[in-house]
């Protein structure tokens, strides 16, 4: 970069702007062509995700609500929109087959508290973002991944999120969410299964550890 060039910052800015706009436009125009997929979509599942994901964000972004109100609203929506019992079994992986009913009850209770504590500390992170469904892939009938772009709010860049929903027609439940390739329920399963594996297959160890962690989380929140 010579000093002569730097002495014409406006010219330079204009050139760069022309470059940016001129090259950017055709590049962007190519995108939809590449995105045109032939795989089957499920419009019912897409509609469900569009409505419910936007609803959750709107509730959480509502400035007139106190955080206690938001937590109450969020808990109601979670049970309505997500298949909590199914997720509860899924995160136990192979141990879902060997767990006793008494252990299952204790696990279901503590897992719910644990997940609530984890997610509810982030309920304040939403600022009116917009969810837009960009398509879906039917893995098999009743098992659909809906792709969305979340933008606006305080996000610097749009975020791609995928929602795995099970159901049919207009009746669907979310079981997993993916961001940057990472599925939350799959990751949770690998976390829990590893913990139980390392305890020699003893599920009580995981339950006891989660109970302890929930207490710590509650303590930290109370501060």
């Amino acid at each position: 970069m010579s000093s002569r060039r730097i002495s014409h910052p406006i010219l330079k800015a204009a050139a760069a702007a022309v470059l940016a706009l001129g090259v950017a436009a055709p590049l962007n125009a190519l995108a939809p062509v590449a995105a045109m997929a032939q795989a089957p979509r499920d419009m019912g599942a897409e509609q469900f995700v569009q409505t419910q994901a936007q609803r959750v964000i709107s509730v959480l972004s509502d400035k007139s609500q106190s955080s206690a109100d938001k937590i109450r609203a969020f808990r109601g929506i979670v049970d309505e929109v997500a298949d909590v019992p199914r997720i509860t079994s899924f995160v136990l992986g192979k141990y879902a087959r060997t767990i006793t009913p008494a252990q299952h009850d204790r696990f279901a209770k503590v897992f719910r508290q644990f997940a609530q504590n984890v997610y509810e500390t982030r309920l304040g992170d939403f600022h009116g973002e917009t969810v837009k469904v960009t398509g879906s892939v039917v893995r098999k009938p009743g098992d659909v991944v809906v792709n969305t772009t979340i933008s606006g709010g305080k996000l610097n860049q749009p975020v791609q999120a995928s929602w795995r929903v099970l159901g049919g027609g207009s009746s669907w439940k979310v079981v997993d969410v993916q961001v940057s390739g990472i599925w939350l329920a799959i990751t949770q399963q690998q976390d829990f299964v590893s913990t139980i594996d390392n305890a020699g297959g003893n599920i009580d160890v995981l339950i006891a550890q989660l109970e302890k962690q929930v207490q710590q989380q509650n303590g930290a929140r109370a501060k």
Binding site: A20, V23, A24, G135, I186, D191, V193, T195, Q213
Partner: protein, 276 residues
């Protein structure tokens, strides 16, 4: 991380441009000759094999302990007290200087549209964006992406090798660790503006490392406090994220990726034994 191998003879700076050009042309021709892309199966969502789990676990435990005592406090202070626009500007400068490296990997992955986006971003952000401080391209609808040499190797079929937790660096695997070194050695910015032997290179490396730590802060806090087994969670997240990025580079369709998912209710496959 970026250090030792950055010490390349400065006379060689001119050489790669011709080579790179030739490589780009050759790859371009190859891609034309290859014709339309064939549907590719998705990369496995299984965990990266972890034969060195015991050692990796102790490395992570040690790293988290030192980090919690010495590194996390200043990082939290920076995030809390440094004005947001300053944090954004510093982050943007750091990321802008990664663009030439991203461009090289975009080309090596035959993702020419991405290479074009990277070129425009670098040109616009380095000039109008005042040395990269403002992400003007991002604001006009050209968001950035990163490409690395581990991903390039994965795109051409190189497997992960064993999982490694590198002390004070984080999760990686043999392929990605090698990729990281190759990215540092081949980094066009350190070749043209100064490698680790120069003050520029040293300052840049320091800022890069600090910025990387700031950027993973939320993830690290969440792994620390919101998991039963932080090690297993980090390995799971790393395995999935890398498989996803390599599928992206391979042009695997969303449909193949979705079809590769385990049934919901079935457990994902256990880590495969490491290949020798």
């Amino acid at each position: 991380m970026e250090s030792h191998l950055g010490e390349v003879d400065r006379n060689r700076v001119r050489r790669p441009s011709g080579l790179e050009l030739a490589a780009a042309v050759a790859l371009g021709l190859a891609s034309l000759a290859a014709g339309p892309a064939v549907a590719q199966p998705a990369t496995s969502t299984a965990l990266i094999p972890d034969p060195w789990e015991g050692m990796n676990r102790s490395f992570m435990k040690f790293t988290l302990a030192v980090d919690g005592a010495l590194i996390a406090p200043p990082v939290h202070a920076y995030r809390r007290y440094m004005p947001q626009p300053v944090q954004t500007a510093i982050r943007n400068v750091v990321y802008n200087l990664y663009e030439p490296r991203t461009f090289a990997n975009d080309v090596l992955q035959l993702r020419f549209k991405n290479a074009g986006v990277t070129t425009v971003r670098f040109a616009a952000n380095s000039t109008v964006g005042i040395g990269g401080m403002i992400d003007v391209a991002g604001k006009t609808g050209l968001p950035g992406h990163d490409s690395d040499f581990g991903q390039t190797l994965g795109r051409w079929g190189v497997g992960t090798g064993p999982y490694i937790f590198v002390p004070f660096y984080g999760p990686s695997d043999l392929r990605d660790g090698f990729g990281k070194l190759a990215d540092s050695v081949g980094d066009p910015v350190s070749w043209s503006l100064g490698d680790i032997t120069t003050t520029f290179g040293q300052v840049r490396t320091g800022v890069d490392v600090a910025q990387a730590r700031v950027d993973i802060d939320d993830t690290l806090e969440s792994v620390r406090h919101d998991t039963a087994d932080p090690y297993a969670t980090m390995r799971s997240g790393y395995s999935q994220n890398r498989a996803f990025k390599i599928d992206e580079a391979r042009g695997v369709s969303a449909a193949s990726q979705v079809n590769a998912l385990p049934d919901f209710g079935a457990e994902p496959s256990a880590p495969a034994p490491a290949k020798p």
